[in-house]
Amino acid sequence: MTLLEPHDLTFMAGAPYLYHCHHYNLFHDQTVDDVLGEEAGQRVRFEAARAAYHGLLAPLSARLDKRTPAERIELAQELFRATGHGRMSLDITADGGTARGEYLHYGYTWSEKYGDAVRRLETADAVAAGFAAAATQVAFGLPDGSIGARERQCVARREPVCEFALSRRTPGPGIAAPVTEEDFKRHLGGSRGGQHEEQIGAIADALQGFVKGVGGDERGLVDAFGVFVTLHLANYYDQTAYEAVRHIEQAAPSSVGLCEALLREAGHVCVFNTFGGILASPEWEAVAYPLSGDPLEIIKGGAAIARGLGFGRWSVDEYVPGQRLVMCASSNYEAPFYLARYGRSDKPRCYFFQGAALAIMVLAHRVKWQEKPRLSQALYNELFRGAGLGFEVTANRCATRGDDCTEVVVRAT
């Protein structure tokens, strides 16, 4: 595992990774399905997960000198557990087989979050399916796209376990290679900080040190800061998000704005739940400061948490309380992927960063932290789905467009 320090980006065996919690992960997947439809959404998510995990497991197996299928399967299973995705048991040959999952991050947390209120008809674990297919491919030296997977039982459908059928297939054309650390480096510009750099940097360093030490428990879940997080692959998030946008751009151009708004809202969900959860946690109180209600604490905290979770070097360029926030990402995990996969864009494409910056301003000014609020769905709805957010965001500059950094301005409305 390496930290590209000036950029606060992290890599494992050359694969870019970061941390996201289940609220974000479930919302991201739902967004992809809402945009593409459930069948196409499942396919896109499965293929993205398979490609992303293939791009991790193949070089990792080589680096650790895991040569036999048994060694590689054991490595894959342990990696899955240690990264907070749950426990997977693979019973496979070069022709496929079965995989059985327990406490799978997506299915288990979906059941915890929605299971009492919603009856789900579709399976939830496209990421685990992609992982199982990739693990089979890598174990037996097959190229990406050689194994298909179908989740035939899922706890999110109130079935007793998650179970996958894996089968051999001929790889289709046009499977793009995952974006790597080297690709990221090619597309990153200079690193820079902003206001309150010393404090933000110190907290980010402490958070990075902490998350490096956390790992999955015996069930394969990671509880850090009271938040259930996954170490997840940037290729998965980026490929699914951008494939969804590109599909809409071709199939229904008038709906592009809606799709982009959903991807920005994923940033709201992440900041509200993950950043908010971290800010409210004892861990934060120990490593940074107790929250007094000063909005600046949340602004600085937002930049530090983003860096700590491997989102890139986010910084505060300008802040006028209640009025204006200019946030800059001299690096993030969206732009290098976009540039490597699709080339330069004609418009800003760092949707997650846009939504997250807006949400940081909302958390700073509309949450009464000194009253120790619970970060419930009701509060989320009140803040982000009510009469108005109170703020709007504009992308001034974007690295996907060839600018030297990604900069957004959040203004009071």
Binding site: T109, G226, F228, G277, E285, P290
Partner: protein, 98 residues
Amino acid sequence: MTLVLESACFHGLAWRADLPLGAARDAVLAQSGGGEPDRTLPGLLRIIRPDGHQVLLVERTGRVQIRVAYTTPRHARRAEAERVYAELREAATQARAS
């Protein structure tokens, strides 16, 4: 002395536990069952109890949080938090008496 639900990723897992000033640290350490507390983060003591529940203490501020094991059924989480809190209060009382 109160027990208040706090934010956590799953409902009903995190509880703020008020304890008498000066006795919180001893009360928290008494939960370890003889094991060493986790001090991965400077300034934070984390105890994993034998029953899987956790107790955290922010040394600088005295904040105590009970984290109920996530495998506890949703309907039983409050009762488990109350049980741990009762043990913490009992340990705090003993600490103050000694």
